[in-house]
């Protein structure tokens, strides 16, 4: 027992751990936060909802409560309302969040032996960091010219970007900085990003174009990628620099500062199913994020808890792992690990999780061969069997795309306790939580 840790119990304040939860769009952040909150509350009531966490506590008891919001300016994540909608009949999946929100949980953990009267007091603060904004992190280490060149190269072949690319190519050399023209170009670019987002693309920058910060947009938010060295291009560069500076300032703001653990989630199974272009796009986005997170160097002479972006642990999680049988989840985890494999300052680990486990495994005999498959309930169809194919443990080769990979049914959650106050079945969420907190438990 660490005496310093025990001495903390004497002080009637809680040690705050701020955990950012972010991820590519539609990857299940809302479900993850809901499941975390409900299952931690259930653990506090003595129900073995998170077995790995229970094993880590090694017999110590835990009390969990949602503290009052106080005078916080950040909206609260209403996990219990979302859980209630999951438990309703018919169930309703939680609506994706479209703003920053905070889920706070107070946790008291008893200590063994002579320190039993000095509990460990933690306040876990999960910050729902919008996935769109996550992709602004790579911009912090990139100048306008590099970003614009890379973006235009990527858009060249995409049908969704035809109008915008036509506009950019049609700009005359030495174009002056006309505000109406800039606004047209900006709107065309935002429309392109929205179309790409609708079609399942993830690498969409700048993120605040898709999810603006509240309030009126300042003029520097109106820019778009273009090549050349005209006065217009020069103004675009200035506005890009102002945008990057604003992102940097925001990361030091009270809401996001002191995030010292991070969960990055991505729905790789859907990306595999959507095809090569969507998968490559998701891979590129994840790789960029992983590199951006590894690049954040600590400020000299400041302890880790004072660093503006001093993340010490990062969990990369492939979500919706309940859509594949347990035998294949190791492959999904390995795939996630390969896509985010980058030398990092923080300790990182990959997981394949299902925040809300909707299925059960079974062995299905297909083409006279037994395969591991899943079964679950689909609204309007009853119980459905699904063999979604083999999940690769590495990014698929070009030839692999000739075969369809996966088809993912929209399973409904298992029956939950009325009101959603019970337990939400999960896969590997407990291990992820233990990884994030093991140095404090």
């Amino acid at each position: 027992m660490d005496l310093i840790e025990a001495a903390r119990g004497l002080i009637p304040v809680r040690r705050r751990v701020r955990i950012g939860v972010t991820g590519l769009r539609r990857s299940g952040k809302t479900s993850l936060l809901t499941s975390l909150a409900v299952n931690l509350l259930a653990e506090g009531r003595g129900v073995a909802a998170l077995p790995a966490l229970r094993a880590q506590l090694n017999g110590r008891r835990m009390r969990v409560a949602i503290p009052p919001a106080g005078a916080s300016s950040m909206p609260r994540f209403d996990a219990l309302a979302k859980s209630a909608s999951l438990a309703a009949d018919p169930p309703d999946w939680p609506k994706p969040t479209d703003a920053v929100s905070l889920l706070a949980l107070d946790i008291d953990i008893t200590r063994p032996g002579m320190f039993s009267a000095l509990p460990q007091r933690l306040r876990l603060e999960f910050v729902d960091y919008p996935g769109e904004w996550l992709l602004d992190l790579p911009l912090l280490g990139q100048n306008y010219a590099d970003w614009a060149t890379g973006t235009l190269r990527r858009l060249e072949t995409l049908p969704e970007a035809r109008d915008f690319m036509g506009f950019v190519r049609g700009l005359p050399a030495g174009m002056s900085a006309d505000e109406d023209l800039i606004l047209s170009g900006h709107n065309l670019y935002v429309a392109t990003l929205r179309a790409l987002q609708t079609n399942g693309f993830s690498l969409l920058q700048p993120g605040r174009f898709l999810m603006p910060t509240p309030g009126d947009q300042p003029p520097w938010q109106h820019f778009f990628p273009m090549a050349g060295s005209s006065r217009l291009a020069s103004l675009m560069q200035q506005r890009y620099d102002a945008y990057v500076a604003a992102v940097r300032d925001e990361l030091s703001a009270p809401g996001f500062a002191h995030i010292d653990r991070l969960i990055v989630v991505a729905d790789l199974l859907s990306a595999l199913h959507a095809g090569r272009t969507a998968f490559d796009d998701a891979s590129a986005a994840l790789g960029l994020v992983a590199r951006a997170l590894s690049r954040r160097e600590p400020l000299p002479l400041l302890p880790s808890w004072l660093q503006p972006w001093g993340i010490s642990r990062i969990a990369f999680a492939a979500t919706k792992a309940d859509h594949v049988a347990s035998r294949q989840r190791a492959n999904l985890q390995a795939l996630m690990a390969r896509l985010t494999d980058t030398p990092a300052r923080a300790v990182s680990q990959s997981f394949s999780i299902a925040a809300i486990n909707c299925t059960e495994d079974f062995v299905w005999t297909l083409d006279a061969r037994p395969v591991s498959a899943v079964r679950g309930h689909v609204a309007g169809q009853g119980v459905v069997r699904s063999y979604p194919g083999e999940v690769p443990d590495r990014p698929p080769e070009l030839s692999d795309w000739a075969h369809p990979f996966l088809s993912l049914p929209h399973f409904t959650p298992k029956r939950l306790d009325p009101g959603g106050r019970g337990v939400i079945p999960q896969i590997e969420l407990d291990r992820l939580l233990v990884f994030l907190l093991e140095d404090m438990l």
Binding site: R61, R375, H377, Q381, D400, P404
Partner: protein, 284 residues
Amino acid sequence: MSETRITPRLEVENPQAGRLEPESLPMVLPTKGSDRGTLSMVAMGVGVLMAGLSALSIGNFVADQFSRAPWLGWTTLAIAATGVGLIGVAVWRELSFLHRLDDVDRLRADLANPARAREAAKSWLGTLPQAAGIEAALNATDSPDAIMALLRAGPGRILADEAQTLGRIAAGQMLAVTAAVPYPALDGLIVALRGIRLVRQVASLYGFRPGTLGTIALLRRTLLSGVYVTSANIAVDTLVKAAISNPHLQTLAGDVAGAGVAARRMVVLARATAAACSPLSAEG
């Protein structure tokens, strides 16, 4: 990919089937063991012998008295029936108290259940004089969390304050008594007796009237909740200091070894008993 790989498949297994049922998860809170220990069995055996042999003796004695004279028999029977009846009433009270103690757990479960929270809150409030005027607010709330917040801020707070007052009074008495008693060996006995009385006082506050067995059961329960209460409230020391704000008592607490510890135990015991008796114990 090999050419023989199995293509993805999706098939309806049962169109009529409803949502899947989750696996039930075990509760891991301490549970009552079904195995009796050796001492318990010895105690039960002694109890059965005492009760059984006493009953037989009484029966024989009454029969013997009838054989001497009818009026003597009837008189003996009336005395025996009155005595046994009183014992029966006491046993009934103990058992009903133990049952009511289990009701606290049921009430806690109901208050945590959104479908039953409001009715559970009303049934609890019906037993409390401290609940006057809260029903209108209770009817206006729209969520179990709001109901719990209302109960905690209203009757829960009042009851906890009253329990705290009882604890402070006991703490002050402990300081005075431990300083006055000339034999340190008696300190432990005095603390134990005052502690039991305090447990019964606090239980009465919450609507219980425990007898001896009930107090033992409540003490066991209090010990469990005590872990949380002591751990959750470092402010106990402050309460003890408040309890001994009298300068004379402060001098005593400084001079008499163990007096402060005894006082502190009373405050903690009051809070732990309140936590054990309250369906809102999660507030700690």
